[in-house]
Symmetry: D2
């Protein structure tokens, strides 16, 4: 299990924020289920691949939203009182994975 600087964000998420993220994730969950149905009804490969690209793009948006929120809230909050280097270690690990 990977270790992180915190269990929770330094600045807790608002309810509205959490609900917006959950809504996006529920939609992505539905898209993944949709692809399962396409596979079960033996749909054409390129058709299915078009849907997996749509899910990748939706997930990328969630990632960018999470990353931006982390920098604007947690990183800025940490910068007021803490050494930022360990936070930047975490960020570089995330960015190098996201860029793949």
């Amino acid at each position: 299990m990977e270790e992180f600087m915190h269990d929770q964000p330094l600045v807790p998420r608002e309810d509205a924020e959490r609900e917006a993220l959950s809504k996006r994730l529920r939609r992505i969950e539905g898209q993944v289920r949709g692809i399962q149905k396409m596979v079960e009804s033996d749909r054409y490969c390129v058709d299915i691949l078009t849907q997996t690209s749509a899910i990748q793009a939706a997930l990328k948006q969630v990632e960018m939203q999470l990353l931006e929120r982390h920098m604007r809230k947690c990183l800025v909050h940490a910068s007021e009182t803490e050494d930022m280097d360990p936070y930047i270690d975490e960020l570089m690990t995330i960015v190098s994975r996201i860029k793949k």
Copy 2:
């Protein structure tokens, strides 16, 4: 709605093939649900981002499996009797989306 060359693969998938793909997709669906729970319990952003990267990687594997199968079965089958250019048009659209 995007138009494709076919509704079904030129060479139907075996049951075992469909089951293996469905199994992977069910696991990805579970991972997406897992992230929803992390958001609802306001888990640390970097922790969640580590999980979204894992889903992206799992989806990429499904994509590569679908793409390879499409080339080895549908493309080869088409090459025996048909003009391959429209199939290559489709492939280039898919590859340019996958590379994002």
Copy 3:
């Protein structure tokens, strides 16, 4: 050194094709030199990163052009007389690298 199916394309490139590719590559070479000058004059990191993204995008275009040409010429030519599987092995290696 990696082994490939051929040393030369199955269908030789036209002079005009080669010249168009070389022209793009010369421009990319110039962009790389431009970044060296930015580094030597200690330009702002984000400014330099904007230029490296431009080079990545230009290289991606060259890659898509080479890949499409390979499929439309070499793959189609091979499909008339040869077993396509080894060509698809090569293609999957390339696509998995391009998608990174």
Copy 4:
């Protein structure tokens, strides 16, 4: 022309740093020239595509190095006296381009 927060890094690069970056960029420049020769001698497409992937990987390393340096030096320096939001705007633009 895109506007940036600064013309130069908030913390100037050391000579050794600049030389190390320039050395990497000179090597990449040489690789691009190498590909031009491959195109001129009409080398096999997949062979050339293997080389373009190597250049993309080398450029990605330069990008990660520049990004990390920017965060550890400029971002941390700015955080001591300035509002970080405009710097995070810049970072998000860069990361969304790098992830492509």
